[in-house]
């Protein structure tokens, strides 16, 4: 016959009772032994605590040692590098020569950096934008709140009325947005470009959202429009450059042509690509802030 679970338990209990009776019968010797055991246990605990405190002292020392060793190796490596800004450095090879001497002629961009980033090395910049895109998707999956949670979050975070912040924001936000647009549009003429300009516009949106709440920006930027904008910008980027990505960009003349360097409508695809990258970065920065703040865009 199979034993039921109850039987198992009752037998187990009986065993326990027997054991306790036995220990009771065995008298004082056992008691002394138990006391000794307890004593041992307390000693063990003390020993462990001592070990832990020792470990607590040892770990920072080990960490400092490790840091010193790593710093030593890094400094050794740096001291082995050639001097900064010398003409015969190994970085000054034919690639840089080509970029500096023929960059403006071939890409039409006065700012050689923009020419390198968005023309010679456009594939790397596409990867960079996709890194941002992937980061946004990861943040969405982690922090995007459910529909049921929306109301509680909104109730918990009603914006405080702050006159100083609001009056400053009225002056600063339009100027910042204008400066961001200037930085994006002048990416091929001077320092700047899509990435930094997009970050500036995103910062302006964040200041606006801090001062006046999210309702103003929600009129033109919701989760749906965010998805469409980012998708279109990335698709435009890869679509405009896909031919040269696949063909290795040998002797490829774009439809727009380099134009006259120094004009705002010049340098082929660099300007539209700058705008695409800027839109992606601006939306992403604002999206990060909004999701961190309240769980949705």
């Amino acid at each position: 016959m199979k034993k039921s679970i109850k039987d198992w338990f009752s037998e187990w209990d009986e065993d326990k009772i027997n054991l306790t009776e036995l220990t009771a019968n065995q008298g004082n010797e056992n008691l002394i032994k138990e006391e000794k055991k307890e004593h041992n246990i307390s000693e063990l605990v003390e020993l462990k605590q001592k070990e832990l405190s020792r470990a607590g002292k040892i770990y920072p020392v080990l960490a400092a040692l490790l840091c010193v060793v790593i710093i030593y190796f890094m400094l050794m490596t740096v001291s082995g590098l050639p001097k900064f800004g010398q003409a015969d450095n190994p970085t000054n090879n034919e690639v840089v020569e080509r970029y500096v001497e023929k960059g403006m002629e071939e890409t039409g961009a006065v700012n050689v950096v923009a020419g390198v980033i968005l023309d010679y090395r456009a594939f790397d910049t596409l990867g960079e934008s996709h890194v941002l895109f992937t980061a946004v998707i990861a943040v969405f999956t982690l922090l995007l709140a459910d529909k049921e949670e929306k109301e509680t979050i909104e109730e918990g975070q009603i914006m405080k009325q702050d006159n100083i912040l609001r009056n400053t924001a009225i002056f600063i936000v339009p100027l910042t947005v204008l400066f961001g647009i200037y930085v994006i549009l002048n990416g091929h003429l001077g320092p700047g470009g899509g990435f930094s300009g997009g970050a500036i516009i995103g910062a302006a949106f964040i200041i606006y959202a801090m001062a006046f709440g999210f309702s103003g920006i929600e009129k033109f930027l919701t989760l749906k429009t965010f998805r469409i904008i980012v998708l279109c910008a990335l698709l435009f980027y890869s679509g405009a450059k896909c031919y040269s990505f696949f063909c290795g960009a040998n002797e490829l003349h774009s439809i727009f042509g380099p134009g006259t360097p120094g004009m705002i409508l010049s340098s082929g695809l660099i300007l539209p690509l700058n705008i695409a990258v800027g839109i992606v970065v601006a939306c992403t920065m604002y999206g990060f802030y909004s999701i961190f703040k309240r769980g949705r865009i």
Partner: protein, 86 residues
Amino acid sequence: MEIFECTLLILLVVGAIATVSSKNLMISMIIFMAYSVVMSVIWIILKAPDLSVTEAAVGAGISSILMFMTIRKLRDIKKEKNEEKH
């Protein structure tokens, strides 16, 4: 000009150590912002204005805003835990 560069580089090292060693997270974030601003000035001296603009916008601006938000969220979570305990 060399003295200026040296002071900026020393400020970088001091800022990096202070960011790690300060016990208040808020203070270490503010020091980190200052670190980014110094770094963007150094980029200008190294004749890389593109990087300087990006460093000022992303390093001093947006990354620190996101860090501040994270610190605030952590405080909220700690408060909730304390309330649950009591």
